[in-house]
């Protein structure tokens, strides 16, 4: 009897915990609900376009561009070799991200065979050093557009915070001090490639899987947290 009460109590605590979490977190949604065109068109080839950098970090573009191809390939698409395609675009005289925005999307299909193109704007790329941890905060807008229909297949507007102090926290005061030392050391090393990669992973978490992924066309019901800020009504 008392066991049952215990269980009920635990359950209710858990439930209220869940309600609190749901209450204050942005709404959860599914890939299928949010990006239906992605499942209609099922693009196979994706062209990553040079990102637009609006952040104050000059390095941000390079960090983003050198890590995105690898990360996106794990989602099961044919991702064009960024180094090659950005070079070709440069030779064609369209290396500027602003100029690229003016190219009709069908051109990318004709020239490269791209089913879809990925536009990226880096809004923020900030490193913050604190006493016990340091973070990389990345805000990006990403949009995957169809070269067939010009419609937006997938988009992401959000902020990713990557902990630079490493996962191993240990215990007690000793652990905290160790963590602070690691944080200081890693910010001094100035090698953020792994963190840029992580930021890319997080940003793509709602990206539907492609043909080369085992979960192709079976991930419509997969949930994710919609980070897109609610549109303000002015």
């Amino acid at each position: 009897m008392s066991n049952l009460i215990k269980k009920k109590l635990i359950l209710s605590i858990l439930l209220s915990f869940a309600v609190i979490v749901v209450g204050c977190a942005p709404k959860a949604t599914t890939k299928g609900e949010e990006f239906p065109f992605m499942y209609e068109e099922t693009p196979l080839t994706i062209l990553i376009l040079p990102p637009m950098n609006e952040s104050t970090a000059a390095d941000a573009k390079q960090y983003y561009a050198t890590t995105v191809q690898e990360v996106l390939s794990y989602w099961g698409y044919y991702v064009f070799p960024y180094e090659v395609t950005s070079d070709i675009l440069k030779m064609e005289g369209i290396y500027d991200a602003e100029l690229i925005r003016n190219v009709p999307l069908a051109k990318f299909r004709e020239y490269f065979g791209a089913d879809a193109v990925l536009f990226t704007t880096i809004k923020k790329w900030d490193l913050s050093y604190m006493v016990l941890a340091s973070n990389l905060t990345v805000s990006i807008d990403e949009e995957l557009k169809s070269t067939k229909t010009d419609q937006t297949l997938w988009s992401y507007n959000g902020t990713v915070v990557v902990d630079l102090s490493g996962g191993n926290t240990g215990g007690g005061l000793g652990g905290l001090i160790a963590k602070a030392i690691i944080a200081a050391a890693s910010s001094a090393m100035v090698d953020y490639v792994p963190y840029a990669r992580q930021a890319n992973y997080r940003a793509l978490s709602s990206f539907p899987f492609g043909k080369y992924h085992p979960n192709f066309m079976t991930d419509q019901s997969m949930q994710f947290i919609d980070q897109t800020p609610e549109k303000e009504n002015n």
Binding site: T66, S73, Y74, F80, P81, V193
Partner: protein, 147 residues
């Protein structure tokens, strides 16, 4: 009772943590691709480019060893580097590999093949007319005077 609750919370946190870090899967072998590319872009020099090329070679090799598909774009990028170094044969070989593994890359690859072949034939005729020809002429003049 209290310890039970702690256990549940701890396990919940653990589960969430696992979700957070399990995004990576082993579909492809990318080696040190991003690192070497970043360094080659940051400090473009003969060494850093050679290092990145080596990483690309290693990805091709290791993917074969693991019986995995070579990641998309790797053969094309490596072929592009060979083409830039005027190793046309190796470049064309790699372009064909990319096309075979990923037929959807055909439009881009055919463009690269065309570019590479054109450059190779241009180089051949231009180098024959300028450097090689002048060397040959010099040689024959020298031989002539010796005789």
């Amino acid at each position: 009772m209290k310890s039970n609750l702690i256990k549940i919370i701890v396990s919940l946190v653990a589960v969430l943590f696992c979700f957070g870090c399990s995004a990576k899967n082993q579909m492809y072998y990318w080696g040190d691709y991003s690192d070497s590319l970043y360094h080659a872009k940051k400090n473009p020099c003969v060494e850093s480019l050679a290092e990145h090329k080596e990483v690309l070679e290693n990805i091709v090799e290791e993917s074969k060893n693991r019986n995995q598909r070579i990641p998309p774009g790797v053969c094309a990028e490596l072929g592009y580097l060979y083409a830039a170094n005027n190793n046309t044969k190796k470049a064309l070989e790699l372009f064909q590999m990319e096309k075979q593994a990923y037929p959807e890359s055909t439009i881009l690859i055919d463009r690269l093949i065309m570019q590479t072949e054109k450059r190779a034939s241009d180089d051949e005729s231009s180098s024959e007319t300028s450097v090689e020809k002048s060397i040959r002429q010099e040689k024959s003049i020298g031989e002539g005077t010796n005789e």
